[in-house]
């Protein structure tokens, strides 16, 4: 963890501001240990798509279930974690997180990363522990902590800014971005189709479907090229989940037509569908799953963005800043105003896949992340949340090797590079010292390789190797298990 800056106030459980009596009661019920109810921590695992959320949850659950000894997670190091089990999740209408399938894939004969997430799922891990605090020890045991985790496609997170935008404004933003040179080639088919359309006229449903399809293709191309990731909305176009083919997904940004708006015209219909999308898809998703978080870990694939180039780094920063505005801890966040949310009192920013980089550069990686997320982090800090930055690899699948060439020794990474039969050593180069340099572009860009999980990851049944998982758990859960 790079730095834990002093916080303005340490948020005590009972001092949290709750708007309504109901919320207050539920907060008290959740937080105070009593023989009748179990304290519950809703941990928000936040991250854009491919940032490593699913892998993080899988590794966390597996390592706690197998009672891996975490030297820097005090409860575990001191042997106070007595047992952990997966218990029925609180929301019975949600699919369960496919923990078993993921772990089977990772530990199988041909290890694979978990499949990419296409829908929302939930898991409850209950930890039984021996407290150190006298107050808790005076209570009859067992002492339990429920850890509620949800996994979702990262694409959906980007819908968050839509809640404050109306259709016309949003369309203007998207259209302006699409006309920039880097993106124009991908947007052309969609823009041309849009140009030929009478925006005030009545159209067949097939036209809507076709235009939505063209727009989706544009989004897909951008995502593949790591372009403009902050604006890949609506998220469900990329990852429809259960809504595939639903009319709330058949619209696209449209320039405002001149003259009077016809009520059944293309623009007006798209506006209605956009509003319906916000109301029935975006709002419930955030209300049900993000407004009640207690703590948050923000996963960022900074290395991936650095490999993709300066534009990708800029985009990543923009995306993080927009998305995290919603999570602003404290009563004044517009999201919490909307939904009477809770406060997030601890926020951990982690740069994932750190196993692609030698250990010696991890501190630098964490520092770069600190610069990248300065604004949201500063906000959180200002409102009294604890903030920390670190380099993380939820499942460490590489190993360090020293390679000597012409009298110099280089730190290299060895492991199974995707698509290759044999493990190889790989020289990743050096990260620059500051974000400004990274945004200027690195003259020796870290080549983009993807390491697969090695065979026999957990052959001793002692848990998965990791980098920094214990530090992150200590930061996120440590105080609750004392």
């Amino acid at each position: 963890m790079d730095s834990i800056r002093p916080t303005l106030q340490s948020a005590s459980v009972l001092q949290r501001s709750h708007a309504g009596v109901g919320a207050l009661l539920s907060g008290v019920r959740d937080q105070i240990t009593s023989p009748f109810s179990e304290p519950t921590l809703r941990l928000g695992v936040t991250g854009l798509s491919r940032s490593g959320k699913t892998v993080f949850i899988t590794s966390l659950v597996h390592n706690i279930l197998t009672a891996r000894r975490f030297p820097l997670f005090q409860a575990s190091a001191q042997g106070r974690l007595t047992a952990a089990v997966l218990r029925p999740q609180p929301n019975l209408d949600l699919p369960r997180f496919a923990y078993e399938a993921n772990i089977d894939g990772l530990l199988g004969g041909q290890p694979v990363w978990p499949e990419s997430t296409w829908r929302l799922s939930q898991l409850r891990l209950t930890i039984s522990y021996k407290p150190t605090s006298l107050l808790k020890r005076a209570m009859p045991g067992p002492h339990l902590l429920n850890l509620d985790l949800i996994d979702y496609p990262g694409e959906w997170l980007l819908d968050l800014p839509l809640l404050t935008l109306d259709f016309a404004d949003w369309s203007d933003q998207v259209l302006a971005a699409a006309k920039q040179p880097a993106r124009k080639p991908y947007a052309r088919p969609w823009l041309e189709a849009l140009g030929q359309l009478d925006l005030n006229g009545d159209h067949d449903e097939r036209v809507y479907i076709e235009l939505a399809q063209l727009y989706t293709n544009y989004l897909r191309a951008c995502r593949q090229k790591n372009l403009m990731i902050a604006q890949l909305q609506p998220g469900r176009f990329l990852m429809p989940g259960d809504l595939e083919g639903s009319p709330s997904l058949t619209f696209c940004p449209v320039p405002r037509p001149r003259g009077n708006l016809s009520k059944s015209g293309f623009f007006a219909t798209c506006t209605q569908r956009y509003e319906a999308y916000k109301k029935h898809v975006v709002r419930p998703f955030f209300r049900d799953h993000f407004s009640k978080l207690d703590r948050q870990i923000v996963l960022t694939d900074l290395l991936g963005a650095a490999a993709a180039g300066p534009a990708a780094v800029e985009d990543l920063q923009a995306a993080m800043t927009t998305v995290l505005q919603a999570f602003r801890p404290g009563a004044n966040s517009w999201l919490s105003k909307l939904f009477r949310g809770r406060r997030i009192d601890k926020m951990l920013f982690a740069s994932t896949k750190a196993d692609h980089l030698p250990r010696a550069q991890h501190d630098r990686l964490a520092r770069l992340l600190g610069e990248l997320a300065f604004e949201p982090a500063n906000n959180a800090r200002f409102r009294g949340a604890d903030v920390s930055f670190m380099a993380l690899s939820a499942i460490k699948s590489t190993r360090l090797a020293k390679v000597r060439e012409q009298g110099k020794v280089y730190d290299c990474i060895t492991g199974w590079i995707a698509g290759q039969q044999q493990p190889k050593a790989f020289y990743p180069g050096e990260l620059p010292d500051s974000l400004a340099e990274l945004k200027r572009g690195i003259d020796a860009p870290l080549a983009q390789v993807r390491f697969m999980p090695p065979p026999n990851l957990d052959h001793q049944q002692q848990g998965l190797p990791h980098i920094g998982l214990d530090r992150s758990l200590e930061f996120l859960l440590g105080d609750l298990l004392s």
């Binding site: 000894r69 030297p71 250990r359 360090l400 390679v403 060439e405 790989f426 190797p465």
Partner: protein
């Protein structure tokens, strides 16, 4: 080398795979070609440490330099780390440890011939500018190798500062301590002793040889027998000397280690942590008694997953916690024995001898726990330092005071003199043991709680009371 370049693992360029606790990499390890990975070594530091600027002129602020002075060149012995065994089952037995034992052992940091202990200390003490003149102003300086912890250093500074209005007993103590450090004036004495010794040895050799020749003339068989015996004697002497030598080297290595770790921990961000951790790890991996602990530690906190500063923390929490509790057990047992024997023995001389012997034994045991295993000279050195330390920090009064606190002033008065003498003796032993711990520990206390004299004292009083009750019952 260009970023993005890849190598086959069979490539000869690959020197070492990092030690990895997860052990999932055995398959990978087998792919590495190197028969015995070449280790990368920086040369061990030069023998005399560079003089500390300012240390010679000032006296009272010397303790402040502890831990923050720029250190001598750093020895990173990476044998323990990079001498990774190529594949195979992860059975961490000493036998499986890096096979570099005979060859890869690094040079002792300071090669001190056992007999010339004092001379060497003089030679390595600071200020080449004033080589021979004894400098009385410098005398109360706690010798650098003695390494009192910061706390003790402060206590020391306090005592010297108030020097003016001090009680007679305390200044007597101080003088005793000063005498312990007053070695510079003995330089010529040392030369005398050494030359006399050398002369004696030369004469002895000559005499023995002529004796042997005479014996051969007298009887062949007797001559053979005598030369056999002589050979045996020479061999055993050689072994003894080399053992002593090694023990002293170990101790000076430990001191160096402690300086490294203190420097690393005292600075923010711990820039020296990498070297300090590597040195600590290598040192403890080398010894059979602690090798398994290090193996466990590496499994728990492999070096490619944890920063050196984190690993130092884990090392203290996991490895040193075990060693600390062993040391405390030894100290408690010894304190108890001394207290009981002193209480029940009728002869004062016997008490004194017994206590001295027990304390010496305890100090050696404590040192051995931390992997220092001092030889005879080493033990003497340690004993002297520990005594000096205790005297300098007013350890006697501390022992007495702690006891008073524990028992309540009035109670001490009511105890029989013998019993209170025993308890004081026991407390002093405990105090010596704690000082020995401080001397031998590779890291300063940071994440583990420093054992307190009062904790040990409390248990001591309980134990002594119980055993006396028992003996009374039996009577």
């Amino acid at each position: 080398m260009k970023p993005g370049q890849t190598f086959e693992l069979s490539d000869k360029k690959i020197q070492s795979l990092e030690q990895d606790g997860s052990q999932v990499w055995d398959a990978l390890g087998q792919n590495v070609s190197g028969d015995e990975p070449e280790t990368i070594k920086t040369p061990p530091p030069l023998v005399p440490k560079p003089p500390m600027p300012g240390a010679a002129s000032k006296t009272t602020d010397t303790p402040k330099h502890q831990g923050s002075t720029p250190q001598a060149p750093v020895a990173t012995d990476q044998t323990g780390q990079s001498g990774d065994k190529p594949g195979g089952q992860p059975t961490y037995r000493p036998a499986n440890q890096p096979t570099d034992k005979p060859t890869g052992r690094p040079q002792p940091f300071i090669a001190v011939p056992p007999r010339a202990d004092t001379a060497a200390r003089q030679a390595s003490s600071p200020s080449p500018a004033t080589p021979s003149k004894p400098n009385p102003a410098r005398n109360p300086r706690p010798s650098k190798e003695q390494g009192p912890s910061k706390e003790q250093g402060r206590a020391f500074a306090a005592t010297t500062n108030q020097n003016g209005g001090q009680s007679a007993s305390q200044s007597a103590l101080l003088q005793a301590a000063q005498r312990l450090n007053q070695q510079r004036s003995y330089r010529w004495l040392a030369v005398l002793v050494v030359t006399l010794g050398a002369l004696f040895i030369v004469l002895l050799v000559a005499d023995t040889l002529s004796g042997l020749a005479w014996l051969f003339g007298f009887s062949r068989a007797l001559g053979l027998l005598a030369s056999l015996l002589l050979g045996l004697a020479v061999v055993s002497l050689g072994i003894l000397v080399s053992r002593e030598w090694r023990a002293l080297a170990r101790m000076s290595r430990q001191r160096h280690l402690r300086q490294l770790t203190e420097a690393a921990l005292s600075e923010d961000g711990a820039p020296g942590a990498d070297d300090a951790m590597a040195a600590v790890e290598a040192s403890y991996a080398r010894q059979d008694e602690t090798a398994w602990l290090v193996a466990q530690f590496r499994e728990l906190a492999p070096s490619d997953s944890y920063s050196a500063a984190d690993r130092l923390e884990v090392f203290e929490r996991e490895v040193l916690r075990k060693l600390d509790s062993q040391a405390v057990d030894i100290i408690e047992e010894n304190a108890r024995n001394t207290a009981i024997i002193t209480t029940i023995s009728p002869f004062a001389l016997f008490d004194a001898l017994f206590t001295l012997w027990r304390n010496l034994r305890m100090i050696r045991q404590v040192a051995t726990v931390y992997g220092v295993a001092p030889g005879f000279w080493g033990s003497m050195q340690l004993l002297r330092k520990v005594f000096a330390n205790v005297l300098l920090t007013g350890g006697l009064e501390a022992a007495d005071g702690a006891l008073n606190q524990l028992l309540g002033g009035s109670l001490t008065a009511r105890l029989s003199t013998k019993l209170s003498e025993g308890l004081v003796n026991g407390m002093l032993s405990a105090r010596l043991g704690l000082a020995a711990m401080d001397q031998c520990r590779p890291l300063p206390f940071k994440h583990n709680r420093r054992p307190r004299l009062s904790d040990i004292g409390g248990r001591l009083v309980g134990a002594v009371r119980k055993s006396i009750m028992k003996s009374k019952d039996e009577r």
